[in-house]
């Protein structure tokens, strides 16, 4: 035991163990950031809704159930068919999506109003003779309680939009609150890019700082919902694609957010401004 080299060996083994621990934790963090549990939630929602159909049709009287898909990180499409539920990931690029289905029993005296919904919130109506589903507007959510406050005079924000009017509107709204507008994303605390999209209602894309991005997108979304309560049915937050033209713009600033809205107008522009202001408030 007290031979030459045994002390060095102990130090070496300790270092190896520490290195193994660090590598293990890094892999764990990397994998957990990469994965999401959408598949689990699709199975869960399909079964939950299928069983809800059975229960609703057996119940007496009229029932209205508010349901939501907010646990799934990606938007889901819900199809109510005659004798089963279908749920799949919303992706316009995929022509034949993989369906998660679950059956329920029908009653010959109850009509099933088949429908296809792309919504985070929807209502299910049961009455003595029919079952219907309808989408509901997004509701405000609780945002992460991260401390992101910053004095406006020292907060540089880079703003860009494919609509010059909206860009000017947001810049002026931020200047009124004493934020500093910069033309260089590299110097900015926040790079904000706002675009119109033909796709679903409201998309947020980020490059880094996941929790801060979640908070910012949540605040902007809540503000848009408050100002436009009937306008939005689906919203999602995801990492920006590598081949996106705005990736570097988002990456160069301390925090970057690309907001895509399908009904971009002055009201939405003001709501986005208010959301950014409350983020730094």
């Amino acid at each position: 035991m007290n031979k030459k080299g045994s002390e060095r060996k102990a130090i070496f083994l300790t270092a190896m163990a520490l290195l193994g621990l660090i590598v293990g934790l890094a892999i764990f963090k990397g994998v957990s950031n990469f994965l999401d549990d959408t598949t689990y939630w699709k199975i869960y929602y399909a079964r939950d809704l299928g069983l809800l159909m059975d229960i609703g049709m057996a119940a007496r009287g009229d029932i209205e159930i508010n349901y939501n898909f907010i646990q799934a990180e990606k938007p889901l499409v819900f199809k109510l068919k005659k004798q089963h539920i279908e749920i799949y990931d919303y992706n316009p690029e995929i022509k034949e999506p993989v369906l998660t289905t679950f059956r329920f029993a029908t009653d010959n005296k109850i009509i099933i109003g088949t429908n296809e919904l792309l919504a985070s919130y929807f209502k299910i109506f049961f009455s003595e003779d029919k079952v219907n589903v309808s989408e509901e507007p997004l509701e405000q959510a609780l945002c992460p309680g991260l401390n992101t406050s910053s004095a406006p005079e020292f907060t540089l924000i880079f703003v860009k939009s494919d609509n010059p009017e909206i860009e000017e509107l947001i810049k002026n709204g931020l200047k009124i609150e004493n934020f500093v507008i910069t033309l260089s994303p590299e110097l900015a605390s926040l790079s904000l890019v706002v675009q119109k999209t033909e796709k679903e209602s409201l998309n947020f894309y980020y490059e880094k700082e996941t929790r801060r991005s979640k908070k910012l997108s949540c605040l902007i979304k809540n503000q848009i919902i408050e100002d436009n309560p009937e306008g939005l049915f689906i919203s999602r937050l995801e990492k920006i694609e590598d081949n996106s033209e705005w990736k570097n713009t988002l990456a160069n600033a301390k925090l970057g957010m690309l907001v895509k809205v399908n009904n971009l107008n002055n009201e939405i522009g003001k709501s986005i401004t208010k959301g950014v202001i409350s983020y730094y408030g």
Binding site: L51, D54, R103, N108, E128
Partner: protein, 166 residues
């Protein structure tokens, strides 16, 4: 390391920390696999309970419904609805291989929900075969009231349900 005079036992002892390290890495990998595996959602029990309740309480299944006042009487069954045709119409799955049931009201002939399936699955359920291809059997007995020839009567009713395991 391999000095002259080093015995095999000594080399094994020197390898021991490496085995511990290897074991730790394997535990981490197994932990990852377990932690990130999508857990199975087992809903067989709740499906069976919902099926039971649907037979007993659904207005269009067995429960007595007074159309004049729009009230369904819990615990009272309608003898006119106690037949195979009505049961299969009021609880209709796309695939007839999920559930089979036998309802026996004391003093009456048993009524089946998917009789052919019942006859197929009953031996499997009795044999208690495990795994896919088997069947689960459950029974509920309670006292129910019914109206026969204008008289309110009460008798035990037994509802047996077999669920195909697949």
């Amino acid at each position: 390391m391999d000095d002259p005079g080093d015995s095999d036992e000594r080399r094994m002892l020197e390898m021991f920390p490496k085995f511990i390290f290897l074991a730790a890495i394997m535990i981490i990998i197994i932990f990852f696999a377990y932690f990130f595996t999508i857990n199975n959602l087992r809903t067989e029990t709740i499906e069976r309970e919902i099926f039971f309740n649907r037979i007993i309480y659904s207005t269009n299944a067995l429960a007595y419904y007074d159309e004049d006042i729009g009230r369904t009487y819990l615990g009272r069954i309608d003898l006119e609805k106690l037949n195979t045709t009505n049961l299969e119409k009021s609880i209709n799955y796309s695939n007839n291989y999920f559930f089979a049931a036998r309802i026996t009201l004391q003093g009456k002939d048993p009524v089946y929900y998917h009789k052919e399936l019942w006859e197929t699955l009953e031996p499997l359920a009795k044999a208690k075969i495990r795994g896919p291809g088997g069947a689960d059997y459950r029974v509920k007995e309670f006292r129910a009231s019914y109206i026969e020839n204008g008289t309110l009567k009460s008798a035990p009713i037994k509802i047996e349900v077999i669920r195909a395991r697949s």
